[in-house]
Every structure is written in structure tokens, then in C-alpha cells.
């Protein structure tokens, strides 16, 4: 199934004809295509960087009903790229903030707000009411959940994903087309790849990838258009290059293959390794570290942030050892003195401690809990939180 092919199409008012005239002038869209858009129901999962242009362009294009799934609230650091939200929306739930902006842009669009996290328990119930699903999520467990639910419900899943300067887009779950698991059978273990919150993202990148997704959604609804199904579009914003790769449907895919072994939604946190017990590390709070330094205790502070990140602010007295080179630092540390590892939020530093343990470092290692952002919050408010 794709789009709204089997629906009875309602007529359009003169006001609608005026509003959508630039679509009606395209022979590929025309009155019939615009009526299909009006009859369509599209679910946007995530009202963030990708969801922002998706919500705006799909509403402007006259998609009749939009659903928005997001449980998060608008934070200041979102506004660098999440253009559906404004300063007045800070601390509001993103789903409601997005709904209000869409109503402002096109009051004819019916907006359903799902101010919840998508889970194995609620996903089928939410998704089955829609003709097309757009994946604008920011984590692997929700991506696999959305993929599997779309395969089971036979709903096309318009995929987009971003990291730093690079984006991916394609259409999964099209008739006879591949699904996300055909492309990536399983996700990276947690912590191996930094997230955008740690690795950063160019603000305009989700705008470009989200617009590509919006374009694919419109074509799926209008019909008779070649889609990205079976092709992975890769975009490098830094080099300004688009590349395209084939995605084959995997006959052995556990979800969409010839003999599927997964026929209902599973526990996606477990699938993504988020329930595996991570080897614990000893924590130290920012205030405790400050107290130890004030008492003049010998402590070696190891800053695992990358060089460009240390430019945001230099942590006094810290030895810079970027996370990517951590295992080569074993011999520069003194095992008889406590070493405190620091990063932005305390995740990479914990992984750095585990990596050093693995290569046999035997000195005492402590992790600065919540990272240098906690130091800025609890010890030195003159420093920025980033």
C-alpha cells in the first residue's frame, strides 16, 4: 500500500484552489493530486531538526491531516536547527509548539498531537491510522521500532537521519522494497558512536534532509512518481556532494524477508543493547572534585574532549587527551595518583575509563559526573553550559 490510492476524494473549495494553484499548475499534481494530498494522513515522528521542515512543508502543501509524535520540550540549544519552534516556545512540549505553528501556517490542516514517547505498546495503535509515516527520530531504538511497525502495518516509512555534516534519506517499506533492517541488520553498541548532542550537527543539515523526506512523502501520496525506495541518498553538506547507493531487499531479513522470524514488536532497548549491564565506573561530583582541588590533593584531570571542543572553554589544569586517542595515553598517566576523567556530559569519559581498564591501566580512575556542564552549573557559573 502507498499513499491514498483507494480513498474517495473530496472536492476542493475556491479558496483551496487559490491557495494551492502552483501545485494545480503542475500536470504531475493537478486537481487529483491535490485532492489526494487533502485526503492524506501523515505521521511525523519527532518534532525536532527533521520534523521542523517536515511539519512546515507538508502543512503548506495541503496534506489534510498530520500527526506529530514527540515527548520532549523545546530547549534553547534546539533553536539552532529546529525552526518550527521559537523563543516563545522554550520549555513547551515540542508536539504542541509544532501544532500551533502548523495551524498558523495552514489552519485547514487537521493536527493530532501525540505528546508521548513511541513504544512497542503504543506504536501500532498510533501508526495504523496513517497513510505514510516519516521517521525524524534521533535514536536507534525508535528507528527499529518504527521500521518494524511500518512493515507489519504495510505503511511506507520515509527515512531520514543526520550526523554532523552528513545525512541519509530513503523510503523503506514500499511494496517489494527493502526495510531498515535490510540495510542495517543491527545498531552500533551504545557509546561506540557519539550522538549529535556530543558530536554536533550543522543547523541547516536537518533542514535539507527533512525537505528531501517531505518531497518523498508528497510524491508517495500524489502517486505515479519514482521514489527513493531501494536507493540510499547520502548527503555531505561540507563537501556539498550527493551520492546514491543501492539497497537490496534482503530475502533473509527477519522482519520483511521470505521467512520472517520476528512477527510482532520486540523490546527495542534490549535489541539496541541499552539493557546490557555496562561495567560500572566510580563517579565524582563537580563539588567533590572542587573540594579535593581546594584541599590541594594531587589529582590528574584528563579532558577527553576534542581540541575544538576545548576551545569552548579550557578546564583549568586538565591534561588534554582526545577520546579518539585515549588508549594511547596509558603511559602518560601516573597510576599512583587518582585520575579524574572529564567530557561534556560524562558519557565519553566513562567509556574512556573502561577503554583504559581494558588495555591494563591499573591506577584509580574517577568519572566527573555529568561532565564539565555540571562543573559550570554547580561550581563555576561564569562558564557556559553547552
Amino acid at each position: 500500500m502507498s499513499g491514498t490510492g483507494d480513498k474517495i476524494l473530496a472536492s476542493m473549495t475556491n479558496e483551496e484552489i487559490s491557495r494551492y494553484s502552483r501545485h494545480l499548475l503542475l500536470p504531475e499534481v493537478g486537481m487529483e493530486g491535490q485532492k489526494r494530498l487533502k485526503a492524506a494522513k501523515v505521521l511525523i515522528i519527532g518534532a525536532g531538526g527533521l520534523g521542523s521542515p517536515l511539519g512546515l512543508y507538508l502543512a503548506a502543501a495541503g496534506v489534510g491531516a498530520l500527526g506529530i509524535v514527540d515527548f520532549d520540550v523545546v530547549e534553547e540549544s534546539n533553536l539552532q536547527r529546529q525552526i518550527i519552534h521559537g523563543v516563545k516556545d522554550l520549555n513547551r512540549p515540542k508536539a504542541f509548539s509544532a501544532r500551533d505553528r502548523i495551524r498558523d501556517l495552514n489552519p485547514r490542516v487537521e493536527v493530532a498531537v501525540h505528546n508521548v514517547g513511541l513504544t512497542s505498546e503504543n506504536a501500532l495503535d498510533i501508526l495504523h491510522k496513517y497513510d505514510v509515516v516519516v521517521d525524524g527520530t534521533d535514536n536507534y531504538q525508535t528507528r527499529y521500532l518504527v521500521n518494524d511497525a511500518c512493515v507489519f502495518l504495510q505503511i511506507p516509512n520515509v527515512y531520514g537521519s543526520i550526523f554532523q555534516f552528513e545525512g541519509q534519506a530513503t523510503v523503506f517499506g514500499a511494496e517489494n522494497g527493502p526495510c531498515y533492517r535490510c540495510l542495517y541488520p543491527s545498531p552500533p553498541p551504545p557509546g561506540l558512536v557519539p550522538s549529535c548532542a556530543e558530536g554536533g550537527v550543522l543547523g541547516v543539515l536537518p533542514g535539507i534532509i527533512g525537505c528531501i523526506q517531505a518531497c518523498e512523502v508528497l510524491k508517495l501520496i500524489i502517486g505515479n512518481a519514482p521514489s527513493l525506495a531501494g536507493r540510499l541518498l547520502l548527503f555531505d553538506a561540507w563537501r556539498m556532494k550527493f551520492r546514491e547507493f543501492k539497497i537490496e531487499k534482503d530475502p533473509d531479513c527477519p522482519v520483511c524477508g521470505d521467512n520472517p522470524s520476528i512477527e510482532e514488536l520486540v523490546d527495542y532497548e534490549e535489541f539496541c543493547g541499552l539493557k546490557a549491564e555496562e561495567e560500572p565506573v566510580d563517579n565524582i561530583s563537580a563539588r567533590e572534585l572542587k573540594a579535593r582541588l581546594d584541599r590541594g590533593e594531587a589529582v590528574q584531570i584528563v579532558d577527553v574532549r576534542e581540541a575544538h571542543e576545548r576551545e569552548i572553554f579550557v578546564f583549568p589544569g586538565a591534561m588534554p587527551v582526545p577520546f579518539s586517542r585515549i588508549t594511547q595515553s596509558e603511559n602518560t598517566l601516573n597510576p599512583s595518583v587518582d585520575a579524574v576523567f572529564i567530557c561534556k556530559v560524562g558519557k565519553r569519559s566513562a567509556h574512556a575509563i573502561r577503554a583504559l581498564r581494558e588495555v591494563g591501566y591499573e591506577g584509580r580512575m574517577l568519572n566527573l559526573e555529568d561532565g564539565v556542564n555540571a562543573w559550570a552549573r554547580d561550581v563555576d557559573p561564569s562558564l557556559p553550559i553547552y
Partner: protein
């Protein structure tokens, strides 16, 4: 002439920020091994504990995934381009305590 390897943003922290590299080999596996030997930090991102290519990294010769064309044992020629395409997800830190 050697094989050119295009390195995605997500792996550049482990290749000294290089966006491409050259390596020699007669098979895809040999080229990737030479690349990993020259960039030891990248190895754990390409191979699992058993030395198999990780399932969240795809390797393309031209626009064809090597999983559909001979895998690591498949032939490769000087002048070919290998592109590494890992899964990316963006967004927040994926740790259980940050879930809704």
C-alpha cells in the same frame, strides 16, 4: 595507484579527520585491513570481536553493497572507490536513563 576509501563524518574522529584515504589490496578485505592497520583507532568501528565486518557499517564499491557482491573476499581493482556508510541516528545520547 591504489583504492580510494571515502570516510564518513562519523568515523573521521578515528582517522585524524581525514575524509579519504588510499590503501592497497586485491580483495575488499585486504584493502580494509590495510586501512585499519594505518588507522588503528578505526578498527573497532569496522570489525566485531570475531573479525567480521560490523552489521551497522556498509561498504560500497561504486553504488553496490559488498554484502550483495562477494563480501570481504570480493575482488577490487586499483582506481576503485570504497565508500563506508555507517548507520547514523543523530540526536540525544542514547542511554536508558534519558528515555521518556
Amino acid at each position: 595507484m591504489a583504492v580510494t576509501i571515502l570516510i564518513p563524518t562519523a568515523l573521521r574522529a578515528f582517522t585524524g579527520r581525514q575524509s579519504q584515504a588510499q590503501a592497497d589490496g586485491k580483495t575488499v578485505g585486504e584493502v580494509l585491513k590495510a586501512f585499519a592497520d594505518a588507522n588503528p583507532d578505526v578498527r573497532q568501528h569496522l570489525y566485531d570481536e570475531n573479525g567480521e565486518l560490523r552489521s551497522f557499517v556498509n561498504v560500497y564499491i561504486g553504488d553496490v553493497n559488498i554484502r550483495n557482491a562477494g563480501g570481504l573476499g570480493g575482488p577490487i581493482e586499483d582506481g576503485d572507490t570504497l565508500t563506508l556508510v555507517p548507520a547514523i541516528a543523530g540526536g540525544v545520547v542514547c542511554e536508558p536513563e534519558q528515555k521518556p
